[in-house]
Symmetry: C2
Subunit: 151 residues, 2 copies
């Protein structure tokens, strides 16, 4: 399987998490962490609304679900939305090798900064990811602003 | 009370969390988030060992404990140790106004980057914070490396 087909398949895991979050009344953002050998290490979704927890973004949820590890070499963080500074910092600190992003149209986070620091960044421009966020932010602008600390 | 006395008093909250973490067998790093009016909003400690949770650094624990908020304007994140990229990203994304740091001698994280982006950074060079981390990293180097993703 070539890389792009694999990345699109992995994105499906993150999209399924985003859909679950939306169904729960939460922000439709999902993520998954894959190992160098293609093993799914962890997956999760934003839980601000569900748990009243501002610290659980999709990427931090997937990272937590993957548990304690000595190394993130060769791992890929797949996320439905461009990672904010908080989640970009996570990727940089733990030297996650790749980031696959569903979309960066509704929000442009820190992925250029990650690319500058040696992370391989793949932007898939996925229409379903764009539509989920566009609809959600139109319906719940205050919730979205709260999630990214934007007054 | 002048700012520096207040910052040193606030640091005590973070140091108490770090000591608790150490007593639990965890990494001795604590943090607290204070509001613009001096209210303690949340406090916490690194929980990698205690909860097997790599995503809970001291700063993210304090941030989570503060719960959902619309704005972090005027807040101060007090931490016993210079914030890593993950925790620096948290501060930048949520526009936390100030960061008070116990020490940056045993680990130099992203606080210069925060200062460049308008965050007020105060470094207290606290001897107890230095001693806790120096002793811990000497005794448990693998655990410390794991906590910052350093192979």
């Amino acid at each position: 399987m070539d890389d792009q087909r694999q990345d699109r398949r992995w994105l499906e895991t993150a999209v399924a998490e985003a859909r679950r979050g939306l169904a729960e009344g939460g922000l439709p953002i999902g993520a998954a962490l894959y190992g160098a050998d293609g093993t799914l290490l962890g997956q999760g979704r934003n839980r601000r609304v569900q748990d009243g927890d501002p610290s659980t973004h999709a990427e931090t949820a997937a990272f937590r679900a993957a548990g304690r590890r000595r190394s993130y070499r060769g791992t890929t963080m797949v996320t439905t939305l461009s990672p904010c500074w908080y989640c970009s910092g996570l990727v940089r600190q733990f030297e996650i090798s790749r980031v696959v992003i569903g979309e960066a149209e509704t929000f442009h986070g820190g992925h250029d900064w990650l690319a500058e620091h040696g992370v391989e960044v793949v932007l898939l421009d996925d229409p379903e990811c764009v539509a989920m966020m566009r609809d959600f932010t139109a319906e719940h602008p205050a919730l979205w602003n709260e999630d990214i600390g934007d007054e």
